[in-house]
Symmetry: C2
Subunit: 219 residues, 2 copies
């Protein structure tokens, strides 16, 4: 098996957290290179990193065994991993089941996370002069809207997890989102399906090794 994988990452980036979970679920070894998103105005905006990833975001996966291929965007990385290292799968085989899993993961990746990531919170506080209270309300608003939709959608998943009894693509997105929600003290009692699934995942080694606090660059 090819395992020359490098992940450019930041311990607190929930998009990088998704990819760490996916790599762990597949049992793939990888080297992690930290990109500090805050220090010096953000290392992701520096010349060196920009040459690797013009999107100026983490994560970035480099696959040395595929000519040093550089892949950005966490969900594109998850799809790539599932195509190149198909076992164990992150997505079910049936197109409709795949679509249901992807739709919930995309709800997190498109409707919750982009509104609450660091650069957006910085813009709210900086350019728009939004105070801390209003910024926290903004954060919790999009978490509440988004998780309510995911909670409903989970009822349609066969056996509850991406792969029935096994976590995969969706849980790689859901667990980091709930981690973030807890960090900002978002109320979660209204989402029992989500909480049950997250608890099942958190008990697994693939998830506990991906947690921000245990990454080499955690401070």
């Amino acid at each position: 098996m090819r395992t020359e994988l490098t992940l450019y990452s930041y311990w607190r980036s929930s998009a990088a957290y998704r990819v760490r979970i996916a790599l762990n679920l597949k049992g793939l070894a990888y080297r992690q290179v930290p990109v500090h998103l805050v220090r010096d105005g953000g290392e992701q905006r520096g010349e060196q990193y920009r040459a690797l990833n013009p999107q100026q975001l983490v994560p970035l996966l480099v696959d040395e065994a595929n000519g040093g291929a550089r892949i950005s965007q966490s969900l594109a990385i998850l799809e790539y991993l599932d195509e190149v290292f198909p076992v164990p799968a992150l997505l079910p085989a049936d197109p409709l089941e795949r679509a249901r899993v992807r739709a919930l993961a995309l709800h997190i990746a498109c409707e919750i996370h982009p509104l609450n990531n660091l650069r957006v919170l910085q813009y709210l506080a900086g350019e728009l002069g939004v105070n801390d209270e209003a910024k926290t309300a903004w954060y919790r608003h999009w978490v509440a809207q988004g998780l309510a939709a995911v909670e409903q959608g989970l009822a349609e998943l066969r056996d509850g997890l991406s792969m029935g009894q096994r976590p995969g693509y969706l849980e790689a997105c859901l667990v980091p989102q709930v981690y973030n929600a807890r960090r900002f003290d978002c109320p979660l009692d209204a989402y029992p399906r989500i909480l049950a699934r997250v608890a099942r995942c958190e008990a697994l080694d693939a998830f506990s090794r991906a947690v921000p606090e245990v990454q080499p660059d955690a401070t």
Copy 2:
């Protein structure tokens, strides 16, 4: 070929616009059901539509030939269409090429569009009391950041389009995003690769039939 497809859509939704392009590129017939995102506080939030799509967003694709399967999230729909109706493909065959196309499409879908869609602009103007000038600056800021990254990324695509000489997955996202950028008078001169690709696409029937203004619910 199975063609019992229904698209719940709103003429001005750029996520719905993506799916119209994809359906047209595949030559699939479909029925369109309008969901008015503004009238009466938004029909997408009404009981009837919520029962179909708990995400309370358009688009939603219903595939009657697959047991009335309901699929939300535009990119999940594009993936589903490519899996169930594989010819002509929206994504290249090679995993790395697929990843590059997906990463750029996801940059649009995760880093630009979510920040500028209707419900977010409503929150800025409403809850945060942001004035029109600052709201427009917000809009243009995320468009400029995002398109600059896409412009760079396009240099890495073989022959420039998703499928080399043919548009596909990426162009289904790029053309609606540029349509939106023009609507808000965002400067686009810095993105010659994007503009060249969009011009090639706009000349094609699959794209011209998907334009918001020619949809049945356009006003």
